[in-house]
Symmetry: C2
Subunit: 252 residues, 2 copies
DNA sequence: GTGTTTATCGTCAAGCAGACGACTATGATC
DNA sequence: GATCATAGTCGTCTGCTTGACGATAAACAC
């Protein structure tokens, strides 16, 4: 049976990125300022159209590289290099989500270690790392007193879903190491959990949990004092990707 | 800036459904036989094009109703009525996944109680409930000796992802009740877990766990002997949607 | 009545988590 | 150099949850 173009309505397909990192003890997301209508001048999640010959994950990795310079590695591969974790999040297709046309957006979630400065096509003033609470509180004010308008389109919903995915996934997987540099200390990993969950964790119990889980952390032999205080052992992420039993998120 | 149709390539967007139920102590999925090329005569997951004015979840609910007659309720709503649980699963967009054209499919996962007979547009011979292992083992043979060809398109991958989602989600949520009728016994719920996980669970420990979790099960006051043996209390699903601590899936 | 089936309650030991004391090793400050 | 602050690491104790499993209860089949 030949292909009948009239049998289906045409859609534009985009990828949007929730890029999360931990900066100054708080969970931050990458936001870019829109240069075009609609929502011109408003902050939005980075993203763009999927090309005709591209897979969705390829498109997400390309957008991630364009916005941050990060290479992505697939969920299967371990976080050995300095690339970012990238996984599909969810797809958003409300008919009215883009006033111009029918757009279906496949959102992806990227987790990266603390990065230098963002770049959006070389224009730093149009991209920034912002604490997720700041991006999600509609009508509040940012650190510099600038009024924070709601994110463009349905990006607040997407960001919220991405944050929730990250919060729940570090419970039962070793994904939190994606926020860390290749070598890190137990304390640095704990501060990642504390920033993502917004809670304080007991350093002693945390240390016992992560070092007692086989395959989670592999000591590299080195130590560091970059956090001050007593030198801490350096670890790499081990091969284990699933934490069983999971890390328990304290009740809030 | 006006809308420029040349700025993006057009896609067809479909929804595919992984409809799971528990029948005769085994996890089964709904499969339909394709009447058209490509993959004519092969089994596939039910699905169809998203209409021009439809949201993705609306399209999934419409397809579900067309194939099974089930009404869907959103994840937020409790499973009070006899509808099915429906949630978005993942999106598949490999450029070559459909040989005819560029199709992005937003797969959804539906969980339903054991149903009468399937109907695919009224044609029962072209729809069936099949154990998921049977649908996933490429080149095996079904119960009736009929050779089982691999599912069409990338539907084996989609089904596999849906089964894995269901298996993991009943660990930490009350989702297993979606496989049960509105009123059910602890034993029936246990057999759901056993079928989905493919393991045997201790009836006594299971009973202690589910009845000891506040808000998980609400006794209706009634009893039943439909399973034989001593009459069992009937329960409805309680308001709790998250199980904390989770039900532990035994190592296999 | 006896046996079978399923449901439900109880017991016990092992393991894990939360609370928290104690000690160690560095840099900063006086 | 002594003292202090900071951060890391090792233990201890208690309570809760789990897994294994014994025992009892209430139906049906014969």
């Amino acid at each position: 049976m030949p292909y009948d173009p009239s049998a289906f309505p045409p859609f534009a397909v985009t990828v949007d990125l929730v890029v999360l990192t931990v900066r100054r003890h708080s969970l931050c997301a990458l936001a870019v300022r829109r240069g075009e209508s609609p929502f011109q001048g408003r902050w939005a999640l980075p993203g763009g159209f999927v090309r005709a010959d591209e897979d969705l994950s390829q498109a997400a990795a390309r957008e991630l590289a364009e916005e941050t310079g990060l290479r992505a590695h697939e969920p299967a591969a371990p976080a050995q290099d300095n690339g970012a974790h990238l996984e599909q999040l969810a797809t958003y297709g409300d008919p009215k989500r883009d006033p111009r046309m029918r757009v279906v957006s496949v959102a992806h979630l990227a987790l990266a270690p603390d990065l230098p400065a963002p770049r959006a096509g070389g224009d730093a003033s149009n991209a920034r790392w912002a604490p997720v609470e700041e991006l999600l509180q509609h009508g509040g004010y940012g650190r510099d007193g600038e009024p924070v308008a709601p994110l463009a389109f349905d990006h607040a919903q997407i960001l919220s879903d991405g944050v929730e995915r990250a919060r729940s996934k570090i419970e039962y997987s070793s994904l939190a190491t994606a926020f860390c540099p290749p070598e890190f200390t137990v304390g640095e990993l704990r501060r990642v959990y504390e920033a993502v969950w917004g809670v304080a964790l007991d350093p002693r119990n945390f240390h016992r949990k992560v070092t007692g889980t086989p395959g989670f952390l592999v000591p590299t032999g080195g130590t560091t004092t970059r956090q001050g205080g007593r030198p801490a052992q350096l670890f790499r992420a081990g091969g284990a990707t699933l934490l069983n039993p999971p890390m328990l998120r304290p009740e809030v």
